[in-house]
C-alpha cells in the first residue's frame, strides 16, 4: 500500500515540473488494478436508484435503461481521467467477463495517476487556483499531492483554512494568499466554495434574496480578521502567513472607532445523536486503516510546515515585529483553526453535502442543488433525501472522494442512456435524473481526447519526413552607444522575442543559426505557436514603440528556416491554468478562475470551429503517420479493419454497417487512401458524437 502511494506521488510531481515543455507522453499506461477495501454500504448505489425512482414515480416518469458497455467505458473514462479511452484500453475492458467489466474499469481509473491530474483541475476550478502565479502553483501542487495521497477532503479543507507558515512549495496557504489575506474575500470564498453559499452580498447590505444578515457575514470574516501575510524583501523567498494579535474586522462597519467583532458561526450545527450511525461507520473506517495511512497527521496546527531555521525569518517585511514575535505567530492561527473545525465538522451537514453535490453535478450534468454554489432556502434540493444520503455517505467514507465517485458511477442513474430526440418529456427526464443529459466535453477533455485519438502522445512520423519551411522576421536589438564589454540583447525567434537573454553582438548571426539548429528549440517554438497559441505574446515586441527606443537600434531580419514538423502533445490537465485567453483551452471555455463562481463556459464559438478546422491539433491528429498502428492496416486490400480501428480510436465503438459503407465510398473518391482516412478521422474528431459524452 505504502509503496503504491509513493509511486503515484512521484509520478505526479515528476510530471508537474515538466509542464512547460511540449513533448511528453500522455498517460496511457495500463493502470495497476488494485481494488480498495470498501467501507461503504455495499448497497449504496442501489439505494440511490431507489431514491431517484421514488421521486420519478411521483412525477409519472419512468427511468430509462442503462447504456451499453462501450458507452460506459467512454463515459467513465472521460469522467475519471478526462479523456477518451485508447484502443488498448478498449481491448482490456472487453477482456474482463461482462459482469465485472464496469467495476474493474472503475477500480483501474480511480487508481490511475491521470485521475489525480483530472481531478486537480476540478479542484482548481472550484478554488480558482491560478497556477501560473507562484502562490497558485504551491496550492496546485498541494492539491495534486493530496489527491495522490488520497487525503480525506475534510483534511484538505482544514489545511487550507488553517494554513500558517511559509508558503514555499506544495502548500495549502495559497488559499489565503490568493485573496491577499483579506478577511472579507476569504469569508466569501470559504462559504462559497465549501458551503455552497453566497453570503458575500451581505458585505454591503443585508442579502436581498436570502436571509443573510450583514452582521453574520462580518462574524465569519472575523475568523480571518487576524490573518496576516508577510512578503519577503527578497524575491527568492516565499511569503509567510500567520495570525496577528489584532482583529481588523470591526462592527459596525465603516466606523473606525467601532470595536473588533468576535467571530461567530452562522450556520446550523447538527446534533451528534442524529449522526451517530454515520459517525460510527466513519470511525470503523478510520480504525480499519493500515498503519501507514494513520501516519498522516491530521491536527490542524501541524498542517503546514513550521519554519525551523532562524534565518528563515530574516526577510519578514514587518517593522514592528521582532523575529521572536514573528516566529511565535507563524506557528499559530488559532482563530482559523477554530473556523476550520467548524466548517469541516460532520455536524455541519452543508460541508459534506456541498461537495457531494458538486461531484454529483460533475457526473450527472446537474446538481441536486443547482447551481452547485447556491444552497439557500429558496433554491431547495430537487431530491432532499438523495442529498442527505450522499452527504452522509461522504462522511461515513471519511470524506473519501474516490468512494463517492465510485458509488455514484455504480448507480443505474449514472449509467442511463440519453432520452431520444423526439421524446416529449426529455427535459423532465433529464432534470429528474431518469435519463443521462447530453454533456459536452470540457476544454481539457476535448484537447486530451484529440491527442490520444490521433496518437499524438509521441511523434508519429519518421524523422525528416515532414520538413516544413517557414519565413519569419527576427528583430535584433543593438545598443546605440554600447559600453564595453558590448552586451546587446540577443535575437530571439519571433515567438518569444522579449529581450532577456544577452549575447555578444558580433555573434548575433551565429546565435540565430544556433537557435535554429537546436531541435529542442524548434519543439518549443512549435509549442509556442500551437499549444500556447497566444498571438499577443507571439507578436508584441516586433513593434518598436513598445521598446525603450532611446537605448537600442533594431534590425529586422527576414529569415527562412526548415524544421521537422512532427509534433507530440502532453496532457492539458498539466498546463498551468488559467491558460492565456487565446489558448485552445480558454477558447474552449476553460474557467478564467478569477472570481467566485467563475465556471467553464460550454457555449460553442466561431473561434473553436476555426481552431479545429485549421489549427494543428485536430489536423495533426487526423493526418496519418507511418509510425501509427493504423498505417499497417492501410496496405491491406480490405480496409474494414482500418475503418474499425478509426472508429474505436475516436468514438470508442464499432462502426455500423452503414458507416462501413459510407467510409468505403469516401475512399473511392479520394486521391490517396491516406488522405481519405485522414478526412474520415478529422470528421469523426469534429463530430457531435465526439464532443458529447455518450
Amino acid at each position: 500500500m505504502a509503496v503504491r502511494r509513493l509511486r503515484v506521488f512521484t509520478v505526479s510531481l515528476g510530471a508537474c515540473t515538466l509542464i512547460a515543455a511540449a513533448a511528453f507522453s500522455l498517460r496511457t499506461e495500463t493502470f495497476a488494478a488494485t481494488p480498495a477495501k470498501s467501507e461503504r454500504r455495499s448497497n449504496a448505489p442501489q439505494h440511490i436508484d431507489v431514491l431517484i425512482a421514488d421521486a420519478a414515480k411521483s412525477k409519472n416518469l419512468t427511468p430509462l435503461p442503462i447504456c451499453d458497455d462501450p458507452a460506459f467505458l467512454r463515459r467513465a473514462t472521460l469522467d475519471l481521467i478526462g479523456r477518451i479511452p485508447t484502443y488498448d484500453e478498449y481491448q482490456l475492458f472487453f477482456k474482463d467477463p461482462a459482469p465485472q467489466r464496469r467495476e474493474n474499469l472503475l477500480q483501474r481509473l480511480l487508481n490511475s495517476p491521470a485521475f489525480v491530474d483530472r481531478w486537480s483541475v476540478f479542484f482548481g476550478e472550484m478554488l480558482n487556483v491560478r497556477s501560473r502565479e507562484e502562490y497558485g502553483r504551491g496550492l496546485d501542487l498541494f492539491i495534486r499531492k493530496s489527491l495522490a495521497d488520497k487525503k480525506p477532503y475534510d483534511q484538505m479543507a482544514r489545511e487550507m483554512i488553517s494554513a500558517a507558515g511559509s508558503t514555499k512549495g506544495a502548500q495549502p496557504a495559497g488559499f489565503l494568499l490568493a485573496e491577499n489575506g483579506d478577511p472579507f474575500q476569504l469569508a466569501a470564498k470559504t462559504t462559497h466554495v465549501f458551503l455552497g453559499t453566497r453570503i458575500s452580498c451581505a458585505q454591503c447590505h443585508n442579502h436581498p434574496f436570502d436571509t443573510w444578515k450583514r452582521r453574520q457575514f462580518y462574524g465569519v470574516a472575523a475568523y480571518f480578521g487576524k490573518t496576516r501575510l508577510y512578503f519577503p524583501n527578497d524575491q527568492a523567498n516565499a511569503p509567510v502567513v500567520t495570525d496577528d494579535q489584532n482583529n481588523v474586522v470591526h462592527w459596525p462597519p465603516n466606523n473606525k472607532k467601532a470595536p473588533p467583532l468576535d467571530p461567530a458561526w452562522p450556520f446550523p450545527v447538527e446534533s451528534k445523536t442524529n449522526l451517530q450511525e454515520v459517525l460510527d461507520r466513519r470511525n470503523a473506517k478510520l480504525e480499519a486503516r493500515t498503519a501507514d495511512e494513520i501516519l498522516v497527521d491530521r491536527s490542524p496546527a501541524s498542517s503546514s510546515s513550521p519554519l525551523r531555521k532562524d534565518n528563515d525569518f530574516a526577510y519578514l517585511d514587518s517593522a514592528r515585529d521582532t523575529m521572536e514575535d514573528a516566529a511565535e505567530k507563524i506557528r499559530l492561527a488559532p482563530t482559523r483553526d477554530k473556523l476550520a473545525e467548524l466548517v469541516t465538522s460532520a455536524q455541519n451537514r452543508l460541508f459534506a453535502e456541498t461537495f457531494a453535490n458538486r461531484l454529483w453535478a460533475e457526473l450527472l450534468g446537474r446538481g441536486i442543488v443547482n447551481p452547485v454554489d447556491d444552497f439557500r432556502a429558496d433554491n431547495p434540493p430537487s431530491n432532499p433525501a438523495l442529498l442527505k444520503f450522499l452527504g452522509e455517505e461522504f462522511v461515513a467514507s471519511d470524506y473519501d472522494i474516490r468512494a463517492v465517485l465510485h458509488t455514484i458511477m455504480l448507480t443505474q442513474t449514472y449509467q442511463r442512456i440519453h432520452a431520444s430526440a423526439d421524446s416529449p418529456n426529455r427535459k423532465l427526464l433529464e432534470e429528474n435524473f431518469c435519463a443521462a443529459p447530453l454533456r459536452r466535453m470540457f476544454a481539457e477533455q476535448v484537447y486530451d481526447s484529440i491527442v490520444v485519438a490521433g496518437h499524438l502522445t509521441r511523434p508519429k512520423h519518421r524523422p525528416g519526413q515532414n520538413l516544413r519551411q517557414v519565413s519569419e522576421t527576427l528583430v535584433i536589438a543593438r545598443e546605440k552607444n554600447p559600453p564595453a564589454p558590448e552586451k546587446p540583447v540577443a535575437p530571439q525567434p519571433a515567438e518569444k522575442m522579449t529581450p532577456t537573454e544577452k549575447a555578444p553582438a558580433e555573434n548575433a548571426d551565429a546565435e540565430i543559426d544556433d537557435l535554429l539548429s537546436n531541435p529542442e528549440e524548434k519543439v518549443k517554438m512549435l509549442a509556442g505557436v500551437e499549444m500556447l497559441a497566444d498571438p499577443q505574446e507571439v507578436l508584441k515586441p516586433t513593434t518598436p514603440e513598445r521598446r525603450p527606443a532611446k537605448d537600442y537600434t533594431y534590425e529586422y531580419k527576414r529569415i527562412t528556416r526548415v524544421y521537422d514538423f512532427n509534433p507530440s502533445f502532453s496532457t492539458a490537465f498539466e498546463i498551468r491554468a488559467p491558460a492565456p485567453p487565446e489558448h485552445f483551452l480558454r477558447q474552449f471555455g476553460q474557467s478564467p478562475r478569477q472570481l467566485l463562481g467563475d465556471q467553464r463556459d460550454q457555449q460553442p464559438a466561431l473561434r473553436q470551429a476555426l481552431i479545429l478546422m485549421n489549427g494543428d491539433l485536430a489536423n495533426e491528429a487526423a493526418r496519418l503517420g507511418e509510425l501509427e498502428p493504423l498505417f499497417r492496416l492501410l496496405a491491406e486490400e480490405n480496409l474494414q479493419p482500418a475503418i474499425r480501428r478509426i472508429y474505436i480510436d475516436i468514438l470508442t465503438r464499432e462502426p455500423t454497417a452503414a458507416e462501413h459503407a459510407s467510409a468505403q465510398s469516401l475512399l473511392a473518391t479520394a486521391a490517396t487512401r491516406a488522405d481519405s482516412l485522414s478526412d474520415l478521422r478529422w470528421t469523426l474528431l469534429n463530430s457531435l458524437e465526439f464532443r458529447y459524452l455518450p
Binding site: D210, P592, N686
Partner: protein
C-alpha cells in the same frame, strides 16, 4: 460601498433591505424578473459601428486633450496648439488630430473612482466597479449583445491587445482577437497541404454524420455547435477577409497612419467597419508615465497623432463617420503636478475622452476641469455616462436588463445617462 449589487438600485431599495423572510424574497425575485424589458427595439439608431481607441496605462489628459497653457507648472514642456474647432486647443504633440477637431468633441470632465490600473480599466470599460461576485461585460460585448451581426466577420474585434471578458454575456459576445494588424490570422486559412476540395468534403461528411447522430438524441447546443462550422467556413471564404489585408491600401495611405502597430490597427479598424464589424477596439499601451513623461508622451504622440488624424479624416471624407462613432479613452488621467522624475502619476480625479462621429455633435467640448486640471469644474461625467451615450447613439436602451446565467438581472449601463448636449436632434 453599495458596489456589490448595483443592479438592484432600481428596485425600491427599502423594500429589498427589509425583506428578510424567504417567502418575501421569492416574491421579490419574481418581481425583479418581470422588470426585464427590452425597450431598445423602438429606438432609432444614429450610428451602426464603434471604434474604441483604448489608451492603456493612463493617458495624461493635460498633455493631450486638456492642456492648461496658462499654468506653466502644470503644462511642463508642452505648449498648446489651436485646432480646426473654434476655441479648442490640444497639446502640441497632436497636430494632425488638431486638424480634425472640427469632426470631434471632447469630454473634459470625465472622472473615475479607481486609481489602480486593473480596477480602473475594468471600471472604464465595463462601467461597473470590480467585485468578487460577478464579471461584467466590457462595452464591446454589451454592444454586440444588442445589435444584429452585419456581414461575415465577427461582430466584435479587438486589435493588438485584449478586450476585457464578455462576463455574463458569454462566449458569443467575446471579442475576436487580432494580434497585430497586417499579420495574417493563423486560423483563417486551411492548413498547408489541405485543398479546399478536401476541406469541403470533410464538412459535407461532418454534416451527414451529425444529422444521423442528432436523429437519435438532442441538446440545445447541437444547432449552435454546427452553426459555428458553417460560420467558420463562411468566414474563411468570405470576401470580407480582404479587410485584414492592409497591403490593399495605397502606400501613402498606410504611411499616413504611421509605421506603428497602432497606426495599422486604426487602418484595419476603418476597413473592418466597412465590412460591417460592429465594434472594433484598438489598444495601445505605454501611457503609464511615472517618469520622463514628456519624452514618452512625445514619442506616443508620434504614434497616436497620425493614426487618429488619418482615421478621422478618412472616415469624414468617405461619409462613414456619420454612422461610425470613434471613442478614445484611457483608464484615468495623470497628475497635473510633475513629480521629481519628470513624470506624472495616476489621476482618476478628472481626465478626458474624445468622441467623434456617430451622429454626435462636432467641434465642441463638454464639461471642463478646474484650473489645476485636478477635478471637474462643472458637468462631471462618469464612465457610465459615456457608455450610455454610446448605447443611445446605437439605438440601445442603456437601461435594458440582461440576465446573468444565474438569473440575476443586470442593467447594460449601471448608472449613467447619455450626455444630452452632445446628442443632436
Amino acid at each position: 460601498m453599495d458596489y456589490c449589487c448595483n443592479s438592484y438600485k432600481t428596485m425600491t431599495r427599502r423594500n429589498v433591505l427589509q425583506a428578510t423572510g424567504a417567502g418575501l424574497a421569492t416574491l421579490l425575485t419574481m418581481s425583479v424578473r418581470s422588470l426585464v424589458v427590452h425597450a431598445g427595439q423602438d429606438r432609432k439608431a444614429a450610428a451602426d459601428h464603434v471604434i474604441l481607441l483604448w489608451m492603456s496605462g493612463g493617458m495624461s489628459h493635460v498633455d493631450t486633450f486638456d492642456p492648461k497653457p496658462d499654468n506653466a507648472a502644470i503644462a511642463g514642456e508642452f505648449k498648446s496648439i489651436n485646432t480646426s474647432a473654434d476655441g479648442i486647443q490640444l497639446g502640441e504633440i497632436l497636430p494632425l488630430t488638431a486638424k480634425q477637431m472640427k469632426h470631434a468633441s471632447l469630454v473634459r470632465s470625465l472622472h473615475g473612482a479607481e486609481g489602480d490600473h486593473g480596477r480602473a480599466t475594468y471600471n472604464l470599460l465595463t462601467n461597473y466597479r470590480m467585485t468578487p461576485q460577478l464579471v461584467h461585460p466590457s462595452l464591446g460585448s454589451v454592444v454586440v449583445s444588442q445589435l444584429a451581426q452585419q456581414g461575415d466577420l465577427p461582430a466584435f474585434v479587438s486589435v493588438s491587445g485584449r478586450a476585457l471578458s464578455s462576463g455574463y454575456l458569454g462566449q458569443k459576445c467575446e471579442a475576436y482577437y487580432i494580434g497585430s494588424a497586417g499579420t495574417p490570422d493563423p486560423y483563417a486559412k486551411l492548413p498547408d497541404g489541405l485543398t479546399h476540395i478536401r476541406a469541403n468534403k470533410r464538412l459535407e461528411l461532418l454534416q451527414q454524420m451529425n444529422k444521423q447522430y442528432a436523429s437519435t438524441r438532442t441538446d440545445d447546443l447541437f444547432d449552435a455547435t454546427q452553426g459555428t462550422y458553417a460560420a467558420a467556413d463562411k468566414f474563411m471564404h468570405s470576401p470580407a477577409l480582404k479587410a485584414f489585408d492592409l497591403d490593399a491600401e495605397k502606400p501613402e495611405t498606410r504611411a499616413a497612419y504611421g509605421d506603428s502597430s497602432f497606426g495599422r490597427g486604426c487602418l484595419l479598424a476603418r476597413r473592418l467597419v466597412d465590412e460591417g464589424v460592429r465594434f472594433v477596439q484598438v489598444n495601445l499601451g505605454g501611457f503609464d508615465t511615472h517618469s520622463n513623461n514628456f519624452t514618452t508622451m512625445r514619442r506616443l504622440g508620434g504614434i497616436i497623432d497620425p493614426a487618429i488624424g488619418s482615421l478621422l479624416s478618412d472616415l469624414a471624407a468617405s461619409g462613414k463617420l456619420d454612422r461610425t462613432l470613434v471613442l478614445m479613452m484611457s483608464e484615468f488621467g495623470r497628475t497635473p503636478t510633475i513629480n521629481s522624475n519628470a513624470g506624472r502619476d495616476h489621476h482618476p480625479g478628472v481626465f478626458s475622452a474624445l468622441l467623434a462621429g456617430g451622429g454626435l455633435k462636432k467641434g465642441t467640448v463638454f464639461g471642463a476641469s478646474d484650473a489645476d486640471a485636478r477635478k471637474p469644474k462643472d458637468q462631471p461625467v462618469t464612465p457610465g455616462d459615456i457608455h450610455a451615450t454610446i448605447c443611445h447613439q446605437l439605438g440601445i436602451d442603456p437601461e435594458t436588463r440582461v440576465e446573468t446565467p444565474l438569473g440575476r438581472p443586470m442593467r447594460l449601463v449601471d448608472e449613467g445617462t447619455p450626455i444630452k448636449s452632445l446628442l443632436t436632434g
